[in-house]
């Protein structure tokens, strides 16, 4: 019998923003989408622009999310410790000399074969989850202005993780769509149109995969949008 995870499709892409092409710094975003037999891990991280080693930070946070995904599955850590575990590995994975300036956001979603969905957010960006017709939005409610971010840092403990378990059942539900995106994307989306935004990305990812997502991000034409852009998706239909 085909498992719930086997039937799902995942995709993801990251493109360097115009501002970072012009200044030659390269992208500071990083994303991870990986399917395992135990489940799927999705993660997007946006390095803090003003931190010199933020691209190392965003890569380390993605790796840390993957490590935590496995530990949580093995029940070696509780839900309450997921954020702290990501931080611990993030700090470990950043090179010592980079730790002074490697701030990053970290948005993740762990979808396990036993239908547990664990979602977490540190910093800005957006996570949209649609179960059947109902959409759940995760975003940084404390953000006052654009580009204002309270990120993970190697030299201090992060105190604002937003981590939630969601109810989902492949037997009872018909559809599960997930989209994680950095603020380079989410800041340009009209809040009332988030459902349309999610549907567009999911439809394109189902038809064209990561290449389709990359095309959307490369052709992103919101005026004044010069930041790096990263998005990953997961979709499952009964």
């Amino acid at each position: 019998m085909t498992s719930f995870i086997d039937k799902s499709t995942v995709s993801g892409a990251s493109v360097t923003g115009k501002a970072h092409i012009d200044d030659g710094h390269g992208s500071q975003d990083c994303c991870l989408v990986k399917k395992y037999s135990i489940g799927t891990v999705l993660c997007v991280c946006d390095g803090v622009g003003s931190d010199r080693y933020s691209s190392s930070g965003s890569k380390a946070a993605c790796k840390a999310a993957l490590k935590t995904f496995k530990l949580y599955h093995k029940k070696r850590i509780s839900k309450e410790n997921v954020g702290a575990t990501i931080e611990k590995f993030y700090t470990r994975y950043v090179r010592k000399k980079h730790r002074i300036a490697a701030g990053t956001t970290c948005l993740f979603c762990f979808v396990y074969e036993d239908s547990e969905v664990l979602v977490g957010q540190a910093g800005d960006g957006i996570i949209l989850i649609k179960i059947d017709d109902k959409m759940i939005v995760f975003h940084d409610k404390n953000k006052s202005f654009l580009n204002e971010v309270y990120p993970l840092k190697c030299n201090r403990q992060y105190g604002a993780w937003n981590i939630k378990n969601l109810r989902f059942s492949p037997e009872l539900n018909n559809q599960l769509d997930i989209l994680l995106a950095t603020d380079g994307v989410s800041d340009d989306v009209i809040p009332d149109k988030r459902m349309d935004f999610l549907n567009h990305f999911i439809t394109v990812s189902q038809n064209e995969g990561s290449k389709g997502i990359k095309t959307i991000l490369e052709n992103w034409d919101a005026p004044g949008s010069v930041d790096d852009k990263t998005a990953v998706t997961f979709s499952w239909r009964r």
Binding site: G17, A19, F145, N147, D196, H200, N219, P223, D227
Partner: protein
């Protein structure tokens, strides 16, 4: 038809068309595919516009201008009007791809009031303030704070606002509590604040109030001549312009006001 449905229909229509064309014996398959992919891409772009903002992000600039009776002396109010209008004209001419400038003006004299709502710079009107009354700076701060905290009406896609205060004297209302609230609570606490003290040098009580507002003496500019006022507003213009062109407009550039050239030959002492 919902947006998602439209999207799905679009895809299915094109897939069907591809099938139709490829099944025709005389059709050029490669040409058809190319044409269809291009149409599909156009369709996607058109769809994506539906959920994206079509306006650039904005950098709000809020001016708190003293038009108390003392500003009438030595044509200070006229110099202020001219300096602000020159700055507004510069803002109207700016063409940044990163952020547009929005401006709101609050005056405090006979009363504190918002004389201009937060508007895109190219929709602003020149000002022609007249001077009379006291210096209700505390109330002006309250009005500014109410505007910044209003999440319904203050643009959600704003960078950290710049709030510029100009005054030539000590406030005559209860300003301590409004200043405390402005600086330490809510979104207003994250604003970039700058000030110009006209005629009241460092060490005076009036200068100190502005220093508390601006977050330190280094963010208050002392003006004792018309040239200084022009220079200050040129400095503000340069600072805002640099922010709108930066990849992160929240970062305040470290510009030196001494590097701003003088305007005109007049250098009237203002007090």
């Amino acid at each position: 038809m919902s947006y998602a449905k439209y999207n799905e229909d679009n895809v299915s229509i094109y897939i069907n068309r591809l099938n139709d064309k490829t099944s025709h014996p005389n059709s050029n398959i490669l040409e058809s595919k190319k044409e269809i992919c291009e149409e599909l891409k156009k369709g996607e772009n058109k769809m994506s516009e539906n959920y994206m903002y079509d306006m650039p992000k904005t950098l709000p600039v809020i001016l708190l201008l003293d038009n108390s009776g003392s500003m009438a002396g030595n044509d200070k109010i006229d110099i202020l009007n001219n300096s602000v209008n020159t700055m507004l004209q510069s803002f109207r001419e700016l063409d940044s791809v990163i952020a547009t400038i929005s401006v709101s003006i609050i005056t405090f004299g006979y009363e504190a009031k918002k004389v201009s709502e937060l508007l895109p710079a190219n929709e602003t009107q020149d000002i022609k303030l007249t001077a009379n009354g006291g210096t209700p700076f505390g109330r002006a701060l309250q009005i500014a704070k109410e505007m910044i905290e209003d999440k319904e009406n203050f643009p959600s896609r704003s960078y950290r606002p710049a709030v510029i205060a100009v005054s030539d004297g000590l406030p005559n209302d209860s300003w301590e509590a409004p200043l405390e609230a402005f600086k330490n609570t809510g979104r207003s606490s994250k604003c970039q604040c700058m000030a110009m003290s006209i005629g009241a040098p460092e060490g005076t009580e009036a200068f100190d109030v502005l220093a508390r507002f601006a977050g330190g003496n280094e963010n208050v500019y002392f003006a004792d001549s018309s040239k200084d006022i022009f220079r200050f507003f040129k400095f503000v213009t340069a600072t805002i312009k640099t922010r709108t062109e930066s990849s992160n407009p929240n970062i305040v550039p470290q510009l030196d006001i001494a590097s701003i050239p003088d305007e005109g030959d007049d250098d009237d002492i203002l007090y």
